[in-house]
Symmetry: C2
Subunit: 407 residues, 2 copies
């Protein structure tokens, strides 16, 4: 018995990072299929964006000195020497008192100092335009590289590509980008009570909530989860399945029950492998204490608690942070500050996770804890986010500002 | 010219909803492929979860009256009449001074009043157990349907399935669920300056930022975007492409330039169809004014502004809300309250969208506006969210609490 080996989530995470420092492989994906993937190398722009001086508006490219006194009551006539065509190089050079028509997005003459919007100009015949407004330097002109410079690092290694980024990639002329391969995670459910997907409900047997919730949670963070058929409470069956999963996956989650017998069985299965080591038996969190961290043939094996709420929070507490560290993932925008709705007392010594709902009340954001038995899944699925209360705290006061992790 | 036809985003959205009240088709998907899909019918649980009285812990099922005085110093001996096996029906009935061992997740005897954790019990031989703690009614027992009741409506029509919901669906014995079909959105870029995907940068021609950004933004909200090859500024080519897209898609976005000529061309292309009507020419937002809403053969056609920032914000302002209304989408959790970082002045009469970054400062969340020319894409991709400033406001004061839409 290793009763006192219970570690903090921080220690658990460190143990995982130290023992499983494997480097994820990379692959190239087309830029428009890169959303929700983690960039595996710094990405530089191949070109200046824009790569030519461009007009922001429909208007007349001019020299500033020609029009600095122009106004509606004192329009300045300029010689219209031609126009710039969309997509074409504009070779025109402005001489004193000359103007060139440029459409929005068109290239301006190389020495243009500003573009006067058509609203402030009036064409007189073919060759003359009356300008009714002055320009300051580079008015309505986008400079070369003003959006993105050639060789500019647009994404750091570890950046998560979002849906707007693919516009940037398109603009920067990057057709494919290197990303980390998805982490292949094996999911094994064990238990005589677990029904397979196509089995009807009977006796005291249940559908496998955890495996599918894990599938959902992992799919969201660039993993490729593989759900194996549930194993009965039979050591040999579990070992056989584990062996298969270890060979096929980067890491394996054993979503077993929370009973003492099941935990012991998972540990026996792990220890039956020659090159194996149980690193952690129990983590100081609520819910989620009966979590096992082990190594088999240098692959990470996690034994997760059976109660769905516990299992879900262990994923948030250590599984996700570990996987995100493999991707070198950067900042997380999902954390917001809220006012806590009640006085809440907790025991010292373990980190606590509480599902919360967020509501707005007189221009403040309030987070309302949802208390439920750890076997209950509905509220965890419905809630807006969760609160992590530090190990050494003894509770939270009503009105205290807390950090909520949004789902 | 319809110079004064500029409408508010609210009016635009109403026009879209009134004119295009098409009902999306439904399809059945397996529950574990339902993440990010919108449920098209109310979903009821097929079973009680759990469907049997279940123990939350490893322990001894007892009658409360037998152990109400039990303590460590005054343990109560009970007759151990057997155990409950995982997944099996437990037929045992407790008589006075009897106990049954139940593992976590196992079924408790029908008349069990509570379960005493093994930590508070000591087995004496095969037939006796010493109980060291009393129970109150239903201690450590999960009642039938306590998580989810049979026929309980677990999801309303319009609910967006999240990654944890699939655990709930698994538990509720729902193998497939009805969801709205993805909205098929055609994306057409027009312009002599637009390069196709495999063309190298040359002259004053550019890669098509908007189409790919639209692809990303729409993919995120249960759409199936189809990008058509870019059309040159040639009315016949545009009409041909529009005709194809109208036939193949539920709605069509024409991502054209922002020049007057291009806008007119888009309108001419729309009006060349027999059954067509331009409903809106211009929306009172900044950026994004030159937006066209039209109908061709009862399909919604949107002409979007060419500047990427404008295009992106028009999607946020009217395209997403319209599509989400087709899905009967419910609450949006992405809105948070922040303190505005500066004094900011705007003109009355148009709604304004500003990209913002969020930062934490002395237990407050501050949002910092990012100002950029509307042709610039980088900041829009990098920002944390955006602020919508109402039409009638003349600005925001430093320190004012504002609502930020997180991306």
């Amino acid at each position: 018995m290793k009763l006192f080996d219970v570690v903090s989530t921080k220690e658990a995470l460190n143990v995982m990072k130290e023992n499983f420092s494997f480097k994820l492989s990379e692959e190239k994906v087309s830029f428009f299929n890169s959303v929700n993937r983690y960039v595996s190398q710094d990405i530089e722009s191949e070109i200046n964006v824009p790569h030519f001086r461009k007009s922001l508006v429909d208007g007349y490219a001019v020299l500033a000195k020609d029009v600095f006194l122009a106004s509606e009551s004192n329009p300045v006539p300029l010689n219209l020497i031609g126009e710039s065509y969309m997509g074409e190089i504009c070779n025109k050079i402005l001489d004193s008192e000359e103007a060139v028509y440029v459409p929005t997005g068109g290239m301006v003459p190389v020495n243009a100092e500003g573009v006067v919007m058509i609203e402030y100009a009036e064409k007189l015949g073919e060759d003359t335009v009356l300008i009714e407004k002055g320009v300051s330097l580079n008015d309505n002109i986008v400079e070369i590289g003003e959006d993105i410079k050639e060789k500019e690092r647009i994404y750091e290694k570890g950046h998560l590509i979002n849906e707007r980024d693919i516009g940037v990639l398109a603009g920067a002329n990057i057709n494919s980008i290197p990303v980390y391969k998805k982490v292949v995670v094996g999911i094994i459910s064990t238990g005589d009570e677990i029904l397979d997907l196509d089995e009807g409900i009977r006796d005291a047997k249940i559908k496998d909530i955890n495996s599918y919730m894990l599938y959902g949670q992992l799919s969201k963070i660039s993993c490729e989860p593989i759900i194996y058929p549930p194993a009965k409470d039979n050591l040999e069956e579990i070992i056989e399945l584990m062996d298969k999963a270890i060979n096929e996956c980067d890491m394996v989650l054993i979503s077993g029950g929370s009973s003492v017998g099941k935990k012991d069985e998972t540990i026996r299965a792990i220890e039956s492998f020659e090159n194996s080591k149980v690193l952690i038996e129990g983590i100081a969190i609520k819910p989620g204490k009966p979590t096992i961290v082990a190594s088999v043939n240098d692959k990470l094996i996690l034994g997760l608690p059976g109660h769905p709420l516990s299992c879900g929070f262990v994923v948030e507490a250590i599984v996700k942070p570990f996987i995100l560290s493999l991707f070198n993932a950067k900042k997380d925008n999902r954390i917001i500050l809220c006012e806590f709705a009640y006085n809440y007392h907790k025991s010292k010594g373990r980190e606590e996770y509480i599902a919360v709902d967020i509501k707005e009340e007189s221009r403040k954001i309030i987070c309302v804890p949802i208390f439920a038995k750890s076997s209950v899944i509905k509220h965890f699925a419905n809630c807006d986010g969760y609160l992590k209360i530090d190990r050494e705290l003894e509770g939270i006061h009503k009105g205290e500002i807390v950090k909520v992790n949004l789902f």
